[in-house]
Every structure is written in C-alpha cells, then in structure tokens.
C-alpha cells in the first residue's frame, strides 16, 4: 500500500481519530484538575505537543503519553483544510458545510491569537485610592527605584526570567548582584528554621534574621509563588556593601545608599503601567438577607486620563465589565473586609472572533440540518402519500 499524504490528511477517518483523541485529552485534563491547578493543566495538556497522563493521580507511576492540544489543533486544521481543498465544490448543498468549517477554523485561530496577543493582569485598588498599573499575579520582577526630587520615581525593572544566581545588573554607579535565587520559597524566622533551610542570611534590610528554603513552584489557582533572592549591592570598583533579602512575601521596598544617594529595591508582582489612572470611589458587596449568598459586587470608579482630559465616573459589576483604552476591566474579587476591589484587566484584540464564528457555525448547522429535515419529510410523503 502506498502512503498518499493528501488522501490521508483529508480523510474523515483522520477527523474521527483526532476528535476521539481530543475527547481523551479533555477528559484526562479535567480529571487532572483535581491534582493540578488550571494553569498547569493548560500548559501540560492544551499547550503541548505530547501530554503525559498520570493514571494514578499524584503517584507518577503510570504515565501514558497522549497527543497534546497543540498537536491535535494543528492536525485538525490541516485535516480541515485538506478535506475542503481536495473536495472543494461550490454548490448550494455544500455551502453550509463550508460555512460551518470556516467558523470552526476561525474559532481555533481566535484561540491561537488570544494565546499570542492576549494579556491578563489584575488591578487592586483600595477605596479612595488611585492606581495607574496592573500586576501579573503569577510573575514577579526585581525593581530598583531611584526616588527623584519632584516626587517622581525612576524604576529599573528586571524581569523574573533574568534572575539567577550570579547574575549581575549594572546601574549608574553601582551594580546589583543576585547571590542566590529561589523561584518559590518558604521564609521563616531563623529560630524556627530546620536544617532543610539554606545557611545564607541577609546582612542588611528587614530580611535580617530570616532563613529561606527552596520549595516546588505552586500550581493551584489560589496559591502564589514566593519569589525570593539574596541580593548584593556592589559599588563600581568596590566591594559588596551588604546582602539584602528580597521577596514578594515582604510588603514595601527596602532602601539602601549607593553612588551618593538613596535607592529602594524590592521583588514584587510584575507591573503593567497604563497611560491613565483609576480611582476607586466605592466598593459594595450586598448579600441576600439572612444568608452569605452574594447578591452583587460592584465598584464605583473614576477614570482619570491626563492625555484626553477625561474625568468620569463608571460602575463595574458582575457581567458588566468596563471596556476602556483597548483593555477590559472585570469585577474579579475583593478583599480587606469589602474595602478593596480586584479587577481582572484583559487585553484581547481578537475578542470578537468567537462571536462571529458562533454565528457562522450556528447558522451553517441550521442550514445543513434543515436541508436534511426537508429531505426526510419528502421521503416520508413519498412512502405514505397524504390522504
């Protein structure tokens, strides 16, 4: 038998096989969510070529390889294009199928572009306060801040990916050297630390007296890594001025002196600055009388944009996001006894694609199936003529 690529890639058998694998993948990925967080599951199953199914969850004894989401998605697209390419005929009764499959293609492409172009961050604001940035809750950065005379700050941010032991980052008049780096860690006062903890200690700052140990990265949705590093400040041509313990477990920045002035540094969630600010006027969280069931969450906000001179109020609440400046703000959470709001901030330039593809597929299916129905009725009328 000769392998004919076009026949293979355009066959319905391949479609059925790929869809069946997709079912297995989705089912296994759903079960795995009991053990792993949704982010980990997405990366391991849907954005991978091969996914490993841990048959006994957590035991890591029986791992079965199954085709991952990326592989299946690409093969399905190839299959779809090959099938239509090799059998393309512009006829009315085929038009429905073409519309359906174009819609599905559009949806798959939409998901790919969302993955590439989309961004998700969070904005946390306390009542009465103003914020002009969002943070990426699962990423951190090391910042060195130069406070300027006019109340402004010049921030040098080093992304998490570049943090590793021994890395040195030159700044004006001094450099910052990473002595040791912990992507996720446990931090305890020295007195409570066991021998599992690292021997190294800070000599400066408010991390003095704490011990650190490396822990596995967090995978559950509700848990965050504690990124920690011991950092040395070395003046140009001089010796280390001391060792600081930086971590997003600590609130606020730690200050030091170098090159004849005051500096501050910290490890904190990575920030995305916006060209406008949002002020939280009021957050309200109502519950139904006599229950803890939330009736509604809403944030009354004010948008302040110095570029456009905008200064207006708006209300963000469940199922009613605010779309502004290419971003969408959703009511995602709250804390501090209902005085702090948390917005999910999303940039997704292709958010309209699912709407279009849903309409295409829906109408296409309706068209194709009503043709089937008309044929079936015609057939029945032929068998038993109407009285």
């Amino acid at each position: 038998m000769i392998f004919r690529p076009l026949k293979f890639f355009s066959s319905l058998r391949l479609t059925v096989a790929l869809l069946s694998f997709a079912m297995v993948l989705i089912f296994v990925a759903t079960l795995t969510q009991v053990e792993l967080g949704i982010y980990e599951v997405q990366a391991k199953f849907f954005r991978s070529w091969i996914a490993w199914w841990d048959v006994m969850p957590g035991a890591k004894k029986f791992l079965i390889p199954i085709p991952g989401g990326t592989l299946l998605g690409i093969l399905l697209i190839v299959n779809l294009l090959a099938a239509h390419g090799s059998r393309f005929k512009l006829r009315w009764n085929k038009a429905g199928m073409i519309v359906i499959h174009s819609g599905i293609l559009l949806m798959l492409l939409g998901e790919i572009f969302t993955g590439l172009l989309g961004r998700e961050a969070q904005m946390t604001i306390n009542e009465g306060e103003i914020s002009n940035y969002s943070t990426f809750p699962r990423e951190t950065e090391l910042v060195v801040i130069r406070p300027d005379a006019d109340g402004m700050e010049t921030v040098t941010a080093i992304p998490q990916a570049r943090l590793k032991a021994g890395a040195e980052f030159p700044l004006s008049g001094f450099s910052v050297k990473i002595h040791s780096y912990f992507p996720n860690s446990e931090i305890l006062p020295e007195s409570e630390a066991t021998e599992k903890f690292d021997k190294i200690r800070a000599t400066e700052g408010f991390g003095k007296g704490y011990a650190v140990r490396l822990t596995p990265r967090e995978t559950m949705d509700d848990r965050r890594d504690l990124t920690t590093a011991f950092v040395e400040v070395i003046p140009d041509g001089g010796n280390s001025q001391g060792r600081w313990l930086l971590s997003n477990a600590f609130k606020g920045e730690q200050s030091f002196e170098a090159a004849g002035r005051l500096w501050k540094m910290a490890i904190r969630p990575r920030r995305l600055y916006h060209p406008f600010s949002i002020k939280l006027l009021d957050f309200s969280h109502d519950r139904y009388l006599g229950t803890d069931v939330p009736k509604n969450f809403s944030s009354k906000i004010k948008i302040l944009n110095p570029d456009t001179g905008e200064n207006r109020e708006d209300l963000i609440y469940m199922n009613h996001p605010l779309r502004y400046g290419g971003l969408t703000f959703y009511q995602a959470g709250f804390e501090n006894n209902d005085t702090t709001t948390i917005f999910q901030v999303v940039r997704n330039p292709v958010w309209t694609l699912p709407y279009i593809s849903c309409a295409m597929v829906g109408l296409g299916l309706l068209w194709v199936f009503s043709q089937h129905l008309i044929k079936a009725i015609a057939r029945r009328n032929k068998i038993t003529p109407a009285p």
Binding site: I38, Y288, L289, M318, L365
Partner: protein, 607 residues
Amino acid sequence: MSTLRKISAWLIPSLCLLFIASAAFKATRPSEGLDFKGFGTLPVVSNGRVQPLDSLARNALLSIHGKQSVPGDDAPASPAAWLAELNFNPELADTRKIFPIHHDDLLGLTKLTPGEEKSYSYAELQPSFPALQPEAKRIAATDSKTWSPYEKALMLLTRNLTLYNQLKHALALPGQGHLESEFSLFLTDIGAALAESDKQTRAEKFNQSTMDNASSRVKIVMEWASMTEVYTTPSGNAADGWRKLPDSLTDAVEKGALHPSTLAYARLGDAYRARDATAFNSAIKDYQTWLLVNRPDQFNKSSAETLFNAIAPFYLCMVLYVVAFLCAIVSWLWQGTTFRQAAFRVLLIGLTFQSLGLVTRMMLEGRPPVTNLYSSAIFIGWGAIVLSTAIELFHRNAIGTAVASVIGFATLLIAHHLSLSGDTLEMMRAVLDTNFWLATHVVVITLGYASTFLAGTIAIVYLIRRAFGNAPQTTAASLRGMVYGVICFATLASFVGTVLGGIWADQSWGRFWGWDPKENGALLIVIWNAIILHARWGGMVRERGMMVMAVFGNIVTSWSWFGTNMLGIGLHSYGFTDAAFLWLSAFVFSQVLFMTLGLIRYRSATV
C-alpha cells in the same frame, strides 16, 4: 375505526384529567379545625427570598427528614402544621422522630439504640450534644473534601439540628407563656424604663428595678434574635427590609405599637396552645387582609407558591408518564392504534401540566426556566418530551411516546432527589444574576443535554428490539431516522450552547474559554456528536454502530451534567454527594451493558 375504539382512546386520557382535577380539588379545599393551609400562605423571608411558611416547612422537613411528612400516629398532617407545632408546642415537636441516623459510628457516639426506622427525635438526641459539639468543631476545621462518611454524616446531623433550632425560634420564643400579653408587657416595661432613664438623665429620683427588669427583657429578646434566620415582619418594601420577629419587638418600642405581623404571630401562638380554632383562623384572616392591602405582591406570590406546593405538578406528571409508557407498551404488544393514541394523549396532558409547572416556577422566581441543577433536570425532561412529541407526530409508532415518558419520569425522579438538598427556588448568586445569559446559554445547552439523552434513549429502544429479534425493517429504518435527526439537533444545540457559555464567560470574566470542568464537559458532548456524524458520513459505522455510539452519548452527557460537579473544583462545582456518585456509576454501567448488547452479532440480524 369503530366508535368503541375511538371512545376507548379517550377513556384513559379522561381518567388522567380526572386524577389531576381531584388533586387540584384536594389542594384548594380549606382545612378543617385550625387553618394550617392559611397559615402556610403567610410570607416570610428565608434563604434570602420571600417565601410562604409552607415552603419553609416543606424544605426544612425535606432536608432534615428526607420526606415532607412527619412519622407517628398523632403527627401533624402537613408540613405547615408541623412548623406550627414546632414553634407553638416545641415540647411535643421535640419528640417527633425526624432525624435519620444511618452511620453506625454516629449511632455509637450518640449512644442511641438502632430502632426500626433509624430516625430519632430532638429529645432523644439532646443528651448527646456534649459529645457531638466538639466533634463537629474538630471536623469543621478540616477540608470538607477529606471528610469520611462518618464525618459527613455528623456534619449533616449538626447542620440539621441547627436548622431545626433556627426554625423553632422563628415564630415564637420557646418557654414563654401568653405571647400577646408578654409582647405588650414588653412594650410597657421598656416604655416605663425609658421614662425612668429620662429621670436619671435629668438627675431626678428614678426606679432602678424598673430599668433592670427592662434590660433583662431586652437581653432575652436580643438573644432570641440571634437564634433564628427567619424574617417574619415586612418592615420595608423590598425583601431586604424584613425584620426578625424579636427585632420587630424592639422596633415596636420606638413606634409605640406592635406591628400587625408581630401581633398576628403572638395571637396564633396563643390560639394554637388553647386549641382555639376560631381565634387561630381569625388571626390568620386579619393578617392576610392586612397583607393584601399593604403587601399585595408578596402575599399573592406566596399564596401562589403554597398552591403550587400543594398541587405538586411534577409529582402528578410522573404518574402520567408511567401511564403513558404502559399504554405505549400495550400498543406494541397488541399492535393497537387505540392504545398508541391513548398513550400519546396522556403524554400530551403530562407535557401541558409540566409546562404549567415550569411557567409557574419561572413566574415565582422571575427567571428563565433553568437556574440550578434541580430545574435543569425538569427542563431536560421537558425538552426531550417536546422533541419526542415532534417525532411521534412524524412517525406515529408510539416510540416517541415511550421514550418521552421514560425520560420524563427519570428526569423528574432525579429532580425529586435533588430537591432534598433544600430550597429549589433559591436566589441567584451575583455571578449568575443575568436573565439574558440564563435564557440563552443555559436554556440552549440544557436542550443540548436533552437531545443527546433522547438520541441515546431511542438507540436503546433500537438495541433492545434488535436483541429480541422481532423488529421489522421499517421500524429499524424509522429509528435510524429519529436517532440521526436528534443527533443533528443535539450537535446544533450543544455547540451553540457551549459557545454562548464561552461568550458569557468573556463578558463576565474576560476570557472566552478557561478549560473549566463544566466547560470541558459541554465540549465533550459537542465533539462526541460531531464524531458520530463524521463517522456516519465517512461510512465508518452503519446503523448499528451509530446506535451504540448514541448510547455512549448518554454517558458523555451524564458526565457533563453530574460528573463534573463531583470533582469539587472549578467555577461550576456545586458540591459532592456520595449517593449521587453511586447512581452515576450505576447509570454508566447500565449504558455500557446496552452498548454491549449492540456489539453482539446475532445470526438472524442483517446489520
């Protein structure tokens, strides 16, 4: 067709109508003696919504006892009567055996000897509270996902005891004597104390004991208020404006007079204890008249809900579907048009009645038909019956009727068991509070479930008839047409429903697709239907293969409907119950058996 046959085809449907009429008559007939039906219509706010006392009592009995009845020869005849007894004669109510305990370890802890009914009274349980409380505290501190069956049973018992106690304090304070005079005494005593306190501020001579007496009374009322979560007194206009009975007493001090509702419950309690039907019934009448003038919307709604509870339309529908199914079977065995028509007519009566029930629920809630797992069960049944009716009109061979009645009965049975967990007209959480998406995404996806189940059930009929080897070719062909058509519809509904869900998620969380278990479950249904269609078009399966695949669709759908909720994760998780897991496993097993039936080759079979 002879006249006799025509008459008999109407006879069974007429009997069914008579059956419904008698149920409706029973529900509307006023009660003798103490008017517990009227008592049941009185509106209160509980679980965040205005509801009649009747619903409060029914839901409490369902969650505590698992039934809407109280055991015992002299037991209260209705849930509302039980609620009245619980509040106005708690000593007697405490002896009703309504707390089931099945777990042996829990029985050991409570030192109770297992009786025949395995249900115990509050009075019997009371001595073991000192043993129960520390256990409950210990278990509550742990993750509920790790609870053992014993721990779950203990927490359930604790929850039910709390609920019982809250209800007991809803309409009266146990241990208080003559309520009406107690309440007015409260007003005069506090008034007197306020006068004394004024004297004190003006540095005049004042009576300390009057003030002490009043403060001890206030303390009792405040403690009472902390013991209940039922709001009896319509103070403001909205549901948020209601007050608990004890709080309404405190409010009355400022106004100088008792609220009509407060007064009504005091009089009801006194009349109940005196077994004075005239006083009891006139207290209800007076309060109802006041409600009709001052809170007409809320009172009409709670009266409607009481009537809805009493008629129990979904229970009647279950009976009708059994009758329709039996008639359909008879029509197959005797090849009778008479019974086929009778079956279809009974089904239509059931469908009409179920539709009325659904619409009533929608009006009571002010929501689209599906708002929780309970209503999804009712709507899946409804959707499947509507589709089967179309099929029956098309094919006229009683298969549509038979399948519809099976699905209708099964889904209502599932709904009944889901209703055991409490109020089925509960308020919507903030995330779900959008009628637009409930009316579009939820309705369409539920129709997707319904049609996938329908295709699977028709396929089971095909496989059984094939196994018995007596299916004529024409029937096989019509079954094939039905299954294929329904799968097409299922593909459409489940796809559109799933994508609409994605769009809703995009609207409320900012992401179209998040691989949440419930989303994945819905996607599995779409993909499985697509697989069936592609396999059929590609000639990979023929008639029999398509039927086996359609049965597997039942498994996929039941996973999406219930299985995903049992994982206890994700945005759609509603809690896990062991019994539900067993039933789901049993269902999956039965479907596998049907599939095996289809995989066996018979010598006589041609396909």
